[in-house]
Structures are given as structure tokens and as C-alpha cells.
Symmetry: C2
Subunit: 256 residues, 2 copies
């Protein structure tokens, strides 16, 4: 069955490895018959900073509360056009792929600003106006898949279990768990290319081939098994005593 | 002895809790005789997106490589004025305090964009033009202290050792370890205020008093004991076998 996939990417250089991957993503998915939507953040000149201009019609003109104004703008249809367009793409998508270079162990600011602005109250949090009731596996984006494709300058070993940077998937937990699984998406294990500053043409070709193979399983791969907030593993949003009883920290939220 | 402290903050609303903390920081530090420098990112209309405009004099006009152009701009004195000014403040500071609301478990985009743009090659990475030789405890910013003051909407329990969001300090590891300790700064344990959406005036006063007390120890508090890259705990940037032998993941990089 054909699906719709949204690609959100954050690199301005058309010949960069990030953009080469984007081109491959589009080609591979279209070849499979899928519909591809794109958000080329640099190309769109995406406004990164979340500020008063996101709220043309304020509840409170004297004091800016982001949560309050976000909820009001979303529920009253007063969001800015660029934000509405991105939300509509997200709603249309069966899967979302993010392509970006890893800058300081996270997203480039332009992509973080996409999340800050698009993930509105009522849309990605405060679902159904019920605070934190629907979250981590439930929410507006439930049933969709999400996949990070990151380009890291450093070598793979430095992102390994005992590598000096910390394991990549733990560094990205605030994104996979906190931004993607939070509003309901199933986050797949991150796809990374390492040592991107000095890859030979041969290695680039191998990496692209590996990515094409991976993409073919976009809809049947097993997501990261994050525990669902309302699935019985938590009591008042704390891990229940019998769950991962000997563990604490971010990895305890993965049901391995 | 009087010191110089840089405060970098990211909230546009003057009456927000973030900004109330900023006011207290300035008052408390000045009362102690310290010199306070400020970077009010919203007030400065800080450019969040790192792009071609950061490199007015390019090495390569055909292809944009951020690392290459960052290194060239830094070493040849061709950086933009706003970036140079921030680097000079960092160099003048004995400590840097970051005040920001926690948005999606990380920095607001405007602050991430401050790091993306100001932490140039040759300044915060690629120190002395020697790639990753000086890093994690060594580098241009060695000897300075850094402290995050974050405002979290959710309750403290959800950020506890087994809370559903993950422990706050682990979520912020990409910042404390990856952005602050990386170029040499000693990162102090994060100061957080939780449940910021619904604090009574009494609680706010208590939180501000706690922050004032904490600030008095800015220069004698013990930093997070991150392991130094070149201190003997790593072999080729992997934890040596005898170090934290039973551990892996981000917490293994803390020498508790």
C-alpha cells in the first residue's frame, strides 16, 4: 500500500551529504510508489525563533505566555500560515524522516525552531486540552512513524557504548522520546553516518546504499520499544516498582 | 575577589519567571561586587540560524562547508560582528550562566543558534587547529564555570531517577557535557524550577531565595565530575577497561 512520507531537512548546501541523502530518500520512496512531502527548512527560510510574531491574535497583550498563546492560537485557528502548513503535512504523513547534521550533539537551531513552533499546545502537547493525559505513545500523531537520519562529524567509536561523547541513541533520547514519542509517534532506531568530514567517494556510495536498504523497511521495522505512559508500566508517571526494578535513568524507559 | 559573569538568557517576556531569575542573578552578583555581562538573546534579536551569512568571506564560494568556513572565518578575523562580540564576552567571563525555559527537553532554538554560531572551529572545537586533541576539560574556555538555570513546566517527579521524562541531568548531558565541558568549561549541576506553569507567589519567592543562596556558591561549588579526555580515563577516546568497568552510557562519563 502506498503511503505518504514527510521529509524535514536542515542543510542549506545542495551537495552536502545531508542533501545527498534527501535526494536518495525522495527517489527511493517515490520508486516504491509513496507520496513524498518536503520541508526544506533552509530553502523555506524557516523562522527559527518562537516569539510574539507567532501569536498575531493574543489572549493577553500585556504578558506573553507561550503555552497559553499557543493553545489559543491553535484552537482558534489563529496560528501563522507557515506553522499551519507544517501541521497539515504532519497530519497527512504516515512517516516523518528528519535529515540533519548533528551540531553540538543535537539539531541545528533551524530544526529545533521547527519543533518549538509547529508542536503547538493542543497539537503535540496538551492533547484534547487535557494536560499530560495523552502522551508518550498517545496523542495527535499516534500511528505515525518517525526516523532520524543524522550526519556526525566524529568517528563511530566515540558514539559507542563507552565512547567519549556518549552513545548516540542516548544523546538523542530528548528527541526520539521527548519530541517524537511524546506526541504519539513510533520512533525508529536512529540512522547515523559518522566521520562525515572525510568520507571517500566509495564510502559515501556504500553509506547511501545502506540507507536505501534501510528505507525499504521504513514501514515494517521495529520501533524503539519506549514504554507507553498509559500502558501499565507507570504509576503517576513514575516507573512502577516492578518495572525495570534495578534501573534508573533514560534507558529504563525502553522495554528491551 | 571580584569576577566577571556572563548571563545568556532566552525569554522575551520581561515578567516571565526566566526573566525574574535573570534580574535576581544580576542583583545578587553585583551586590557581591562581580561584573555582569549580558546576552539577552530575544532583546538582541539574535540570529538563530547558522547559514551562509555567517561567512561573508568564503574559502569556497561554490560549496558551503560549515566546518571549513567556520575555521576560516575565525582564524582570519572574518566572523560577523555579533559572533565576535559573544566570543569576547565568553573570553572575559569567569563564569557563564544560561537562563532558559526547557522547550521539548532542550534549549529554545534561539539559544541553540547562539551555540551553533558562536562556538566556532578554532574557538570551541578544533582548538589550536588540532582536531579533537584538546577537548572535554581542555580548550579555549578552560577554567571557566558554566551553570544552567532552567524552567520546566512539568512536575519534578517526572524528571526524577525513574520519572517518565528521564532525569533532568541526563536529558541535559548533551549540553553540560557536549557543549560546556567540551570546550573546557566546568559545568555545575543544573538548577531547575519545576511546575512553572502554576506556581503561587509564595513558591516563586521561595524558589528565588533558593537561587540567591545557590548563586553565592557559584565559585566554590563542586562541578559535575565529568572525566577529562586527556586525564587517563580514556584510551583513544573510549573509556579504559578499568574505568567504570561495569557501566556504559552517558553516566559512565561522570566520575562519582
Amino acid at each position: 500500500m502506498t503511503k505518504t512520507v514527510l521529509i524535514v531537512y536542515a542543510h542549506p548546501e545542495p551537495t552536502s551529504l545531508t542533501r545527498q541523502f534527501v535526494i536518495e530518500t525522495i527517489a527511493t520512496l517515490e520508486q516504491q510508489g509513496h507520496t513524498v512531502l518536503q520541508s526544506d527548512l533552509y530553502g523555506m527560510n524557516w523562522k527559527a525563533t518562537f516569539d510574539q510574531h507567532d501569536f498575531p491574535d493574543r489572549v493577553d497583550n500585556d504578558r506573553l505566555s507561550f503555552v497559553q498563546e499557543s493553545g489559543h492560537a491553535y484552537s482558534s485557528g489563529q496560528q501563522t500560515r507557515d506553522v499551519i502548513a507544517e501541521q497539515q503535512k504532519l497530519l497527512a504523513a504516515d512517516a516523518v524522516i528528519f535529515h540533519f547534521p548533528l551540531w553540538w550533539f543535537g539539531m541545528p537551531a533551524i530544526l529545533k525552531g521547527w519543533v518549538d513552533r509547529v508542536f503547538a499546545y493542543g497539537f503535540a502537547y496538551g492533547y484534547k486540552g487535557q494536560g499530560n493525559r495523552y502522551r508518550y505513545g498517545e496523542g495527535m500523531l499516534k500511528g505515525k512513524r518517525a526516523l532520524l537520519s543524522v550526519m556526525a562529524g566524529g568517528p563511530a567509536e566515540e558514539y559507542s557504548a563507552r565512547g567519549i561523547n556518549g552513545p548516540l541513541e542516548e544523546l538523542l533520547f530528548p528527541i526520539t522520546h521527548g519530541m517524537l514519542f511524546f506526541p504519539g509517534m513510533d520512533a525508529l532506531p536512529t540512522h547515523a553516518v559518522y566521520g562525515t568530514g572525510q568520507l571517500s567517494k566509495t564510502i559515501v556510495e556504500k553509506e547511501i546504499a545502506a540507507w536505501q536498504r534501510r528505507l525499504k523497511h521504513l514501514f515494517d521495522e521495529k520501533p524503539i520499544p519506549f514504554r507507553h505512559q498509559n500502558g501499565g508500566d507507570y504509576q503517576q508517571n513514575i516507573l512502577a516498582k516492578h518495572i525495570a526494578a534495578d534501573k534508573e535513568g533514560i534507558t529504563a524507559h525502553i522495554d528491551n
